[in-house]
């Protein structure tokens, strides 16, 4: 049943070092990239920053701050706004929420990943990048258990290895790639039509 395993959405998360990691990955994607990407990056809470703007400048794909109840359109990277959780809805929309922080983080990667696992199950590709805490590990496990594809940035290629390492501790069967290979890997899947 290859068709049942077609990926339809990518979720990505990271903290320390993740802005640079995204700045490495996203420029490899073409403007007609066929999947939507939802991302959570932890930033210091007091830093009001235009992450989408900062990432946009070298990338062909469209990068924007996620808005509540916005449709998850292909070829667009949606970035969680500071101080809001970002979730995927079964209806194909994004939602924002102000529930308490998880792992001291809002937005939290676990919140995004767990919502993706529940709403999209095997149709999700989850990618956990560099980071200094455990957020994302149990969310990535949820995606794995729901039959989705899971990828972890290799701890050796990470600015902070705690995040990828915790994910691999929970589930050693996640795929692992060094940072420079993640973009080309996505490009390859894009060209072959996302069949797993």
């Amino acid at each position: 049943m290859a068709s049942a395993r077609r990926r339809e959405v990518i979720v990505m998360g990271g903290s320390a070092g993740a802005v640079d990691a995204l700045a490495t990955i996203l420029p490899s994607l073409p403007a007609d990239f066929s999947l939507p990407i939802a991302t959570v990056v932890h930033l210091p809470p007091d830093r009001v920053s235009d992450l989408a703007g900062a990432l946009s400048y070298r990338s062909a794909v469209r990068i924007k701050e996620a808005e509540d109840k916005e449709p998850l359109t292909p070829g667009c990277v949606f970035v969680a706004p500071p101080n809001y959780h970002l979730l995927l809805e079964r209806s194909g929309h994004l939602s924002l929420a102000v529930d308490d922080p998880v792992h001291f983080s809002r937005p939290s990667i676990d919140v995004l990943f767990e919502s993706a696992a529940l709403a999209y199950g095997p149709r999700v590709l989850g990618i956990l990048l560099t980071g200094a805490n455990e957020d994302g590990a149990s969310g990535l496990l949820a995606i794995h258990r729901a039959g989705g594809q899971t990828l972890v940035q290799s701890p050796e290629s990470a600015v902070a290895s705690a995040m990828p390492s915790s994910a691999l501790l929970l589930e050693p069967r996640h795929d692992v790639l060094p940072l420079e290979e993640i973009g080309p890997f996505l490009l390859q899947l894009h060209r072959t039509g996302w069949e797993a």
Partner: protein, 278 residues
Amino acid sequence: MTDAQDPNGEDVELELHLLLESIYRKYHYDFRSYSEASLQRRVRAALVHFGCPTISRLQERVLHEPSIFTELLRYLTVQVSDMFRDPTYFRAIREKVVPYLRTYPSLKLWVAGCSTGEEAYSLAILLSEEGLLEKSLIYATDINPESLRRAEAGIYEVERFVRFSENYRLAGGRGSLSDYYTASYSSAVLDRCLKKHILFSDHSLATDSVFAEVEFVSCRNVLIYFERDLQDRAIGILKDSLSRKGFLGLGMKETLRFSAHADSFHDFSPEDKLYQKL
């Protein structure tokens, strides 16, 4: 929160649907058009709290043990608030909306989804500093009775006032926030003269209709928990409650842009999420 059985998404959706339907039929609280993703999260937290392995088991308990429902409401609704949350919003009310409010002989304001009261008290302080409180009545409504009780008491943990005070200052506060509360050991109680002008009561944007005619309504971080259709219903109620040229304030990540009622409002100060009814 991992689940040993890991039921698939469709089963969980079905169970959630049945739970919400039961709650609606038995308790008349309507969560059926709330955003599913975050509701699912909170229901999962409730399962852990109540020691229920499945949503269906929780449903059975909710139906047969009404006392559980009050406790469950704590999970179904999100009680996260602060005084002067998003200080720029309150600064904008002070600088841009107050000049209009001054022109009315008396004022009615409405805080819809007031949670434990922080937003309503913030507004009362702002009005008091602008010399408008004496002619104002603030309605503050929510669906969570426990939160409404706490809102009415106006007692908050003293540690929270560090952030509240910083927010107050950034919001353009004219004095010191400590002018408005009395602290004892671990808690602080807000002044009676603020409370006198606030009427807390039960009202649901999902099931009730127009609340009262008001000149200003603030509904923040409530609509993001609703699906589009319910957002439209709720905004319709807010709109119908506003007098002509009345103001609507939303949360920093909420907007009228996609709403069916967008045409009934003027973009008064969209960066501050302030709209004016035409």
